[in-house]
Symmetry: C2
Subunit: 246 residues, 2 copies
C-alpha cells in the first residue's frame, strides 16, 4: 500500500504530484523542497545524508511541536485575559492534545504524502499528528515564524480552536453562519449523509453549500457535530474573505 520510491534523488512524476498536493495543503509554494520531503519521510525508508545522519520526519516534529506551542501560547495570552498561567497551560494542552493533532493530520490527509516501507495500514493513529507537527517544523524552517503562525491560525486555530467551547461555554457556529447568510441574502444547504467508512463507530458527513456551491465539508460522530464543524470552517473561511475585502 505504501508509496515507495526515493524522491530525494528523482524528479519523477510522483515528485510532481507530491508538491502539487502539498501546495494545496499549504496555500503557498514551498522554497526549500527538501525540508518538505523530509517532513514526509518515515524512518523505515532508512535514508541517510552524507554525514550518516538519518533523514526522516522525527527531528522536524521536535521543531513543529515547539512552534505550535509558542503560537498557541501567544494566542491564548491574547484571547483569555482572565486566565492565569496554570489555566493557560491547561487550555493549551487541550488544543495540542495527541487526539486533536491526529484529527488535524487526518483532515489534511497528510498520510497520503508519506514515504514509507511499511504499509500505511500498519501505522498507528499517532502518525497523523506526527506528520502534522513535522509539516509545521518544515514551514518554520522554510518560511519563518510569521508564515508558520499564519498556517497554524488557518489550519488549527480558526477551524478548530474555540475559546468558548474550551472554556466550557457554548456557542453555535451553525446559528452564526445562518444569521450571516440571511443578512447577506445567501442561500444555504446542509447535505448530511451517513458515512461509516472503515470506522466501527457510526459517522456522519456533511456538505455545506452556500449559493449552491460547496464551501465546507466535515465528518463527525453525530449529525449535529458534523454540521457544527462544517459551519465553523465556512464561517472562518468567509470571515477571511470579508477581512481581505476591507
Amino acid at each position: 500500500m505504501s508509496f515507495i520510491g526515493n524522491i530525494f534523488n528523482s524528479r519523477s512524476k510522483e515528485d510532481g504530484n507530491f508538491f502539487l498536493q502539498l501546495h494545496k495543503i499549504l496555500g503557498f509554494k514551498p522554497n526549500k523542497k527538501s525540508l518538505y520531503r523530509k517532513a514526509f519521510t518515515h524512518r523505515s525508508m532508512n535514508i541517510k545524508d552524507k554525514a550518516g545522519n538519518a533523514i526522516n520526519y522525527e527531528r522536524l516534529e521536535f521543531v513543529g511541536d515547539a512552534m505550535l506551542s509558542a503560537v498557541i501560547a501567544s494566542y491564548l495570552y491574547d484571547q483569555v485575559p482572565h486566565g492565569d498561567e496554570g489555566y493557560l497551560t491547561k487550555m493549551r494542552s487541550k488544543v495540542v492534545s495527541r487526539e486533536h493533532l491526529n484529527e488535524l493530520g487526518k483532515d489534511l490527509k497528510l498520510i497520503n504524502l508519506v514515504q514509507s516501507r511499511i504499509p500505511k495500514s500498519n501505522f498507528g493513529n499517532n502518525i497523523h499528528g506526527n506528520l502534522f507537527e513535522s509539516l509545521i517544523g518544515a514551514i518554520y524552517l522554510d518560511k519563518g515564524y510569521k508564515s508558520c503562525k499564519k498556517f497554524i491560525f488557518e489550519t488549527v486555530i480558526e477551524p478548530y480552536v474555540d475559546i468558548e467551547q474550551l472554556e466550557g461555554r457554548v456557542i453555535s457556529y451553525k446559528s452564526l453562519l445562518i444569521e450571516w447568510c440571511q443578512k447577506e441574502k445567501n442561500t444555504f444547504d446542509y447535505d448530511v449523509y451517513e458515512d461509516d467508512g472503515k470506522d466501527e463507530l457510526k459517522h456522519f458527513s456533511v456538505k455545506l453549500s452556500i449559493n449552491d456551491k460547496v464551501v465546507a465539508k466535515a465528518r463527525a460522530t453525530s449529525k449535529k457535530k458534523a454540521e457544527e464543524k462544517a459551519s465553523k470552517r465556512a464561517f472562518f473561511a468567509f470571515q477571511r474573505q470579508i477581512t481581505r475585502l476591507i
Copy 2:
C-alpha cells in the same frame, strides 16, 4: 527592601530609572511600556485591570517559556544534525533548566527591577528565572518573534549555550580568546580574586581586560570556571563586533 510604588499610574523618577535600566538590558527601546511594567510586577502588588484581571508577570512567563523553547528548538535542530528527537529534547531541557534560567535572570540583575510588596530577601531563587521568562514574553508581544529570537541569542545562546559542552565534549574558550588576542596583537589580563559574598561556598570573581579595558566579568566556584565563563562572554561579545564590522 522592596521598591514599592505604582508605576502603572505615575511618570515618576522611579519610572524613568526603570526604563533606563531596562533599556540597558534589552539593547533597544521598548514600545509597549506597560508590557514591561507588567513583566516586573509581582502578584503581591495586587494590581487589577478594569475587568478585574490580575496584572502581574505570571501570564507573561507562560508566553516567554514557550518562545524560549521554540527558539532553542530551532537552534538545536540546526546545530545538532546528528541528534534525534529524544536527544534534542534532552539537550533543550538542559538549556532551559530552572537552574540555568535562574542564573540568567541573576546575571541580568532583573530582581532590581521587580515591583513587590514582599522584601526581596524573602523571594526564593526561582524568581530570577521567572522574571527572565516574563521579560522574554514581553519582548515577543512588544517586538515580535525576530527581536525575541535575537534577544535570546544574545543573552542565552551565545554567552551560555555550548553545544560542545552540552554534548560532553570539551573546549576552552580561554584558549580560543588568547589565540585571538595574540593574532590581533591585543594584550589581555585575567584579574582573579576571592569573592565569597553571602555564599557559603567559596567563590571566585574575575575581571577580564583586553587592551587594559575590562571587557567581561564572571563569578564561579573555581578560578578556572570563572576564567572560562569570562572568556566565553568576551569571545562572543567580540565575535558580534567582528560580525558587525564585516
